[in-house]
């Protein structure tokens, strides 16, 4: 039973990590119907930014909490700037092009950003400072849930609630939903569609930056390639949960994380990916729009 609980929390942690990235994927898809493959790279840039800021601040002897907050803020601003710019350069000119074009453009952007960081920074793995300390009150359960696991879980839950709130109950959220439903009509009733899409990208990138900070601190190392690998899994999780749905992204991530964890624990870690993707195939056969996704009806 202990073993089951240990594996369960391993799976939940993994799921929460995927969810932090998957939320950004799903949000952008929900609003403009584009799979933003560069999202993983925005996450990676967030991790690098917080790495640089945290390293500089720790040299000047700032307290840990200040380092976490300041590097978090810096990462959010920097990543948002990248997300905003990527949208303006790579997606906006293609807004009326066939759906395949922005997808290819997104893959191009992803490769570009990876290599940009590779050249501008380094190809080596860098040791990411431990920004989340071991809390003393967690010690009795540290072998099951670590402090960083806990912080990631809480952050994911808070972000999911805030996002749901923004989209359901605020003016911007209403405008986002309108844009998602019918862009032309939204424009006719006076919504600045370009601005709304920019806001979507900024929010998505800010989430990725927070994810970058927390996940890098959890793993303890970063390099230019982390965004790609994590992005693929997060994207899978978003599809599993129903791409476009915010609770779906979190649910899908948790299901994926748990599947991988139990597959490792009870079968073999050699087949962890096999189980994860078999599950994806099964769910998509029976529920093509994912666990919580809405079936898309073609507009006439």
């Amino acid at each position: 039973m202990d073993y089951f609980i240990e594996l369960f929390f391993s799976g939940i942690t993994r799921g929460a990590i995927y969810a932090l990235i998957a939320l950004g994927y799903t949000m952008v898809y929900g609003i403009i119907g584009l799979i933003n493959f560069a999202h993983g790279e925005i996450y990676m840039i967030g991790a690098f930014t917080s790495f640089i800021v945290a390293t500089v601040l720790s040299i000047y002897g700032f307290p840990l909490l200040a380092i976490v907050l300041l590097s978090g803020v810096a990462a959010v601003i920097w990543s948002s700037a990248y997300g905003y710019t990527v949208e303006k350069i790579a997606y906006k000119p293609l807004r009326h092009a066939p759906r395949l074009s922005p997808l290819i453009s997104a893959i191009g952007m992803s490769i570009f950003l990876q290599n940009y960081v590779l050249l501008a920074q380094t190809s080596d793995f860098l040791p990411f400072p431990e920004l989340i300390p071991d809390f003393p009150f967690m010690e009795p359960v540290a072998h099951i849930v670590g402090s960083s696991d806990l912080i990631i879980l809480i952050t994911t839950a808070i972000i999911m609630l805030i996002l749901t709130f923004i989209i359901k109950f605020t003016r911007v959220g209403k405008a986002m939903r309108a844009t998602a439903q019918d862009r032309t009509m939204a424009m006719l009733v006076g919504i600045n569609v370009n601005q709304i899409i920019s806001v979507t990208f900024i929010i998505g990138s800010a989430l990725a930056a927070i994810g970058g900070l927390l996940i890098a601190s959890h793993i303890g190392q970063i390099n230019f390639y982390i965004g790609f690998l994590a992005g693929i899994k997060a994207f899978t999780a978003a599809v599993l949960g129903g791409i476009g749905s915010i609770p779906g992204a979190v649910l899908g991530s948790l299901v994926l994380g748990l599947t991988e964890s139990f597959a490792t624990g009870y079968v073999s870690s050699d087949y962890e990916d096999v189980f994860a993707f078999s599950l994806l195939v099964l769910i998509l056969i029976f529920k093509p729009s994912g666990l919580l996704g809405k079936a898309e009806t073609k507009k006439v």
């Binding site: 391993s10 993994r14 190809s123 040791p127 303890g220 390639y225 690998l229």
Partner: protein
């Protein structure tokens, strides 16, 4: 008529091609083209760049003395980013540029992919670091040599250390499913099983690049293992070691020479303390090795990196063979390599029939106070 015309064009084309070819052939006579292949960019560049430095140092010295048999040596440096699919392009490029001997490749997977191309071109290849067994044991690559001992020698060292030195009996063997890590882990498992002294309680492969290894660490804990033997590279090793500390798992961590790199200590930080790793035999007291290190410091203002000594040795013996053989003909080179012992930073070496260096082995190292030290 039409046929005649096309024949004429063909002839013209042939003449033109020969004309284009001629200058290349002319160059080949003036210099000896020395290919260097390995990861020079990407996340494993730290494995490949020291080899380039080593080759530069040796070749500059030889060129300063007027080259070999009156010919200067020209370096052709090609990047394979440690990826098999790119390594075949790298090899093709080196062959078409006329490389006569090749130092490389660095990663085992990349070397295996590239070897058939060199074999067909009858080019001598010597690697300072590719340790996968089939390169020499399969007999498929008569043109392959290496200055590092093969994995087959690394696995028993790890197993023997855990069983006999540390006296542990329950061992988990983990690998990264790759060309380098998996055979190593399998070898260690076999050595443990054969010894009869211990038991492999867990044998599994992990997925490189995963965001979190807590599930596999919990499984290791569940298995009751006293030691973990890991076959793979340092990024995964440091993630597992850190996760073991986080999950309060106290087991010895023993790994291969892919982990015996200072980058591992840098990335894993204090979690690296106490980790054991197999590495090429300690040569710090070797006179040639000390001299090579000084040369590196003088030329590049830094300490040499991974596989530097092996690369320095490989360059030295290859140039020695070219000088003695008087050509770059594969059979003549092989004869010299097998028969004559040459003094190098990894000891006085010659090669056996398979292509492995005689007198090169492994030692066990441990991270103590942020440094790898030899475990006696």
């Amino acid at each position: 008529m039409k046929l005649m015309k096309s024949k004429k064009i063909l002839a013209a084309a042939a003449v033109m091609m020969m004309a284009m070819y001629a200058p290349v052939a002319g160059n080949a006579a003036d210099t000896i083209k020395f290919g260097v292949a390995g990861p020079h960019s990407g996340d494993l560049a730290s494995y490949g760049l020291p080899t380039v430095n080593a080759a530069k140092l040796v070749i500059d010295q030889v060129n300063a003395k007027g080259g070999i048999n009156g010919k200067k040596i020209e370096m052709l440096i090609e990047d394979d980013v440690c990826k098999p699919e790119i390594a075949t392009n790298t090899a093709t490029k080196l062959v078409s540029e006329g490389a006569q001997v090749v130092l490389g490749h660095i990663c085992s997977g990349a070397t295996v992919a590239a070897m058939p191309i060199y074999r067909d071109a009858k080019i001598l290849v010597m690697s300072p670091s590719a340790t996968t067994d089939p390169l020499t044991y399969s007999g498929e690559y008569p043109n392959f040599f290496r200055t590092i001992a093969p994995n087959a020698a690394q696995s028993p060292t790890m197993a023997d250390f855990a069983l006999n030195k540390l006296g542990l009996t329950k061992i988990a063997v983990i690998h990264d499913k790759g060309d380098y890590g998996k055979p190593l882990a399998e070898g260690a498992k076999k050595a443990i099983d054969d010894s009869g002294k211990g038991k492999v309680v867990l044998f599994e492969g992990i997925t490189p690049g995963a965001v979190d290894y807590s599930a596999i660490v919990q499984k290791i804990k569940q298995s009751g293992a006293e030691a973990v033997i890991f076959g793979g590279y340092h990024p995964e090793a440091s993630k597992i070691v850190s996760m073991m500390k986080k999950k309060r798992l106290k087991a010895e961590f023993i790994s291969d020479d892919g982990v015996k790199d200072d980058t591992f200590i840098k990335v894993a930080g204090k979690d690296a303390e106490g980790v054991y790793a197999v590495g090429p035999e300690d040569v710090t007291s070797n006179k040639m090795a000390m001299k090579a290190k000084e040369e590196h410091k003088a030329a590049f203002k830094s300490d040499p990196g991974a596989f530097f000594d092996g690369a320095y040795a490989a360059t030295t013996v290859m140039l020695h063979a070219i000088e003695k053989a008087g050509s770059t003909d594969l059979d003549a080179l092989k004869k010299v390599l097998q028969e004559e012992k040459v003094e190098t930073p990894v000891g006085a070496i010659n090669f056996d029939q398979k292509g492995d260096a005689v007198g090169v082995g492994y030692s066990m190292y441990q991270v103590q106070n942020g440094k790898y030290v030899v475990v006696k």
